[in-house]
Amino acid sequence: MRTSLRAFAVTSSLALAFSGGCSSSDGPPTPGANDHYTDLPEAKTTVSGIAFDPEAFFFSVTNFPVMDPDAPPPPPFLFENIPHVYRSAAVGARVSVLHAGGVLDSSGPVAPNGVWQVLGVPSGTETMYKLRVEPPQEGLVMGAPEMFPSPPFEPVPEATYFPTSTLRPFTAGPSSCLVQVAGVVGDAGALAAVATLRTEMGIPTTPADLVNPMRTGGVALIWVYTPSEAFDLFNIPADSIAAETSAGSLYAIEWAPPGLFPGQSPLGYFATPEATSSLGYFAVVFPPGMTEPVTVSFVDEGTSPPEEESPFQIRPWNIPSFTLTPEPGVGFARLHAIPSVMPPFDPDEEQEPAPDLGWMCR
């Protein structure tokens, strides 16, 4: 029965082909007809990216076992399917989009590859947003031990993680902001290192104290990375970077294999009162109540051999200064150095259109 109905449909269609194929209504659509115009709902922007512990990421990079002597180790990039991303993903955390200190919307639990997505915040180029990684009540476990068991993979030390905000705001101009990178830190890395140093300097401090608004005006962790050759997703610490802050106490963060000497954090980090870090990693601790903008400036003290040709490797790099408004708690920022050597500008060269990277919302 169904077949015969279909057959009828075929026959009918054939008949209609002859009757209607030359209909005068078959003309071209009228260009310019504005029947597509309508009122649209409020424009929303999806925001998505990864949430990871940058300190655990570096720990994974430095401790990754040699599986095949002939194969290069996985690169320290925030790319898909890089083991270090899985080993440092904030699995189970939620990422909130913040505006004026309040939460606009939050993601679901962060996936094993660090991925999260917030489905809609108001679009616009005027409104500044920040992100905050909220660890779950049960805490975060780094290292993805199910995927990377020990041995041969070095377990990532346990830590208590703190809600961590991004220090660099973004605007949601386009309808999607992709690959937003949100860091989360705990008490096994730089915060522990700073607390230890401050204690040694006569200011008894715990990592929890540093994020306690009664004790400090907040901690800004800023990690300077080498110039990135693909988006801003290379995650290679920049060595020989000096920093200076316009306010607050600045500490240079260093790293050595855990357990090498007293005062190291469980992840191997330690702090110094020096201005230069061989990791390009700095912590700035603000006094309680401080809300005035603070500028942290950087100088690349590194050198490169004269024969170096890659603009990404020629030192010194330019490192833009970073201005932030202190907030209680802990915030994290990734800052990429910029090559100081650019190809000479050729006024006669016809330019290729630059790709639209607006979706990065940087």
Partner: protein, 632 residues
């Protein structure tokens, strides 16, 4: 006997009664709304039959997203269908074979017709001697899955160097004219088997029933490619450049015929449930049928994964089962003055992709993720899949997105420049893809992020007045149906008065009508808008419009017109008088030999190059008499 006679009489009366001039081609082909009335089989549910695409890769059936199909619970002779398949989505080189898991669903009781059958056998890294063109040909003739074909008469055909962008080139050596390639009397017998292997339905298609089998459109080819090269130093450079870099070698035999011209040859999917298989027996390989495992999913068992549309034409939250087909719509936010956009104003619009029954294929604000597409959970919506293009050698496969161009009256061919004579967003040849190529496998989270259905494009402060177009490109595969759509949606800038295309080329409908209409071919764009092609196809990396259109028709076995008669497609004399290596070589392969060899390798935007106006005295002021040009 009485019924057919009555039908014929009835049809005659309709024809005579309609009062139309069958030879009047001045009316447009229209868009898919025309379909049902003209028995457009590509109109999905509104037509009498559903188009069926059958694809195979290295011995396994695949879905249009490239995933290999598992046999399921079907009794076939031992070895008829492999237990493991190579995944083309592994990229190059291909990974080791693994058990397939995808399912090709079809709807029992539905009338289908075979739109496309594409069979690919390919190897990577096997023929790596840069100058040995014999080895890949020998592989095709003696070792490939198509070795039993009649390969007599095989020759080395054209050898092309294609600019892949960024200074990277692909050399492709074509092998042509084997007996099976030029055969026109062969056929494909399509049989639907139940799970016990019993034939439950059958239909035979002649090869000449299909319109498209041209390599330029991604169809039949036997070729050997060397990819990732720098330009050769000189003609017949025997060394791959740059020295020391190992290029990617691919050898492929692709048999692909598409676009049935006789949709009345249909086949009704038997009323079965569970698994079955479609067996295709090519008369040129009678003892080696191709198997396409299917799962029969009754219409009433389709899950409610689509969305009912609201009065505003946008998806509501109510879920409904999906139907066949792909329709595209756009809703543009009303301009500030209510009538037209002003230069500098932002055009804010929402894309609404629907099935042929008017159900939304996605939620109001968001599209499915790339991983939804790869996992078969996108209601059939497809995104740019690099491997379907680079490994499977399709040329319009899954790349969905949009472009905004205008005003229409300024849409002229750009020759060797990114300084386009009209506004275009993006300014590149590629559109703004909903999912950008290459990024899902690179950027963390990209493949799991839902792309928006809403976009905003800001017009330049000096935008010229006229009619602009949002050109939406969509792909969908669902229940065996694989469709491409390219639709313009218009808005006004600076004035209410409508402007038109330059009308320099056209007439495609003289040949491309009915089932062969451009609406049903390749990208699926109606002939009314053929002057939009150039807005993407202005560089070789994606095919330059003059080159590919000439190339397709010059090498087509189906093109029956006088190839020297330019007046068929060129409506103005001016449009024929811009000779360049790029536009002439589509027909006249290497018309100047190696005389202007370097120009082929100059970047598109670097003058001089192959896009430049050449030999004005010879080809423009006194054009070759062999060409019939539009009058002065």
């Amino acid at each position: 006997m009485k019924k057919p006679l009555a039908l014929l009489l009835c049809l005659s009366s309709w024809v005579l009664g309609s009062g139309c001039n069958l030879f009047d081609v001045s009316d447009a082909e229209g868009t898919r709304g025309r379909g049902a009335r003209a028995f457009d089989p590509y109109s999905s549910s509104a037509s009498g039959a559903i188009s069926l695409s059958l694809l195979a890769f290295n011995g396994c059936a695949i879905l249009p997203n490239g995933e290999p199909v598992a046999l399921g619970d079907v009794n076939l002779p031992d070895g008829a269908y492999p237990d493991v398949c190579t995944r083309l989505n592994d990229g190059a080189p291909l990974g080791p074979p693994s058990p397939p898991f995808a399912r090709l669903n079809v709807t029992p009781g539905t009338v289908y017709f075979l739109r496309e059958i594409t069979l690919v056998d390919t190897v990577f890294g096997q023929h790596t001697q840069f100058n040995d063109r014999q080895a890949p040909a020998t592989w095709a003739r003696r070792q490939s899955r198509f070795k039993s074909l009649d390969w007599s008469g095989l020759t080395i055909g054209q050898e092309t160097w294609r600019d892949r962008g960024g200074g990277s080139f692909q050399r492709e050596t074509y092998f042509e004219n084997a007996a099976w390639m030029i055969s026109n009397n062969d056929s494909f017998q399509v049989e639907v088997l139940d799970s016990d292997g019993n034939v439950r339905a059958s239909q035979t298609y002649l090869r000449r029933d299909f319109l498209a089998e041209n390599a330029t459109t991604g169809r039949t080819r036997v070729s050997w490619t060397v990819d990732g090269l720098e330009r050769p130093r000189f003609p017949d450079d025997p060394e791959p450049q740059p020295p020391g870099v190992e290029p990617i070698y691919q050898t492929v035999v692709k048999v692909s015929v598409a676009n049935a011209t006789n949709p009345f040859k249909s086949i009704t999917m038997p009323d079965l449930s569970g698994d079955g298989v479609i067996r295709v027996t090519w008369s040129l390989m009678p003892s080696e049928p191709f198997y396409f495992p299917v799962t029969f999913v009754p219409e009433q068992e389709r899950p409610a994964t689509c969305f009912r549309l609201g009065a505003d034409g946008l998806a509501t939250d109510e879920r409904v089962p999906c139907g066949f087909g792909l329709e595209q719509a756009v809703r543009i936010r009303t301009p500030q003055n209510g009538r037209y956009f002003m230069p500098g104003e932002t055009v804010d619009f929402m894309v609404s992709l629907r099935d042929g029954d008017g159900n939304g294929l996605h939620s109001r604000d968001l599209l499915p993720t790339f991983n939804d597409y790869m996992n078969g959970e996108s209601n059939g919506l497809a995104y740019f899949n690099d491997y379907m293009i680079f490994t499977y050698r399709d040329t319009s496969s899954s790349e969905s997105g949009f472009k905004v161009v205008g005003p229409l009256q300024d849409l002229r061919v750009a020759n060797g420049t990114y300084q386009l004579p009209y506004f275009s967003y993006p300014g590149t040849s590629e559109p703004r893809f909903f999912v950008e190529p290459g990024l899902p496998s690179l950027l963390p989270g990209y493949a799991d992020s839902q792309p928006p259905a809403r976009y905003a494009v800001t017009l330049p402060p000096d935008a010229k007045a006229g009619t602009y177009a949002i050109v939406v490109k969509g792909h969908r595969s669902y229940m065996g149906e694989r469709l491409n759509r390219l639709d313009p949606f218009f808005f006004q800038v600076g004035q209410e008065q409508v402007t038109k295309y330059p009308e320099r080329i056209g007439n495609c409908q003289v040949c491309h009508n009915g089932t062969n209409s451009l609406s049903n071919l390749h990208h699926g764009m109606a002939v009314d808008h053929v002057e939009l092609c150039k807005t993407c196809h202005f560089e070789q990396a994606v095919g330059q419009v003059a080159d590919i259109v000439h190339r397709i028709h010059a090498s087509s076995r189906k093109y029956s017109q006088n190839r020297a008669d330019c007046t068929l497609c060129h409506l103005t004399r001016e449009s024929t008088l811009r000779p360049s290596l790029m536009s002439c070589n589509g027909c006249h392969v290497q018309s100047h030999g190696t005389e202007y060899y370097d120009l082929y390798f100059a970047a598109m935007h670097v003058t001089p190059n192959a896009y430049g106006n050449c030999a004005n005295a010879c080809h423009a002021e006194t054009p070759p008499k062999q060409h019939l040009l539009p009058p002065l």
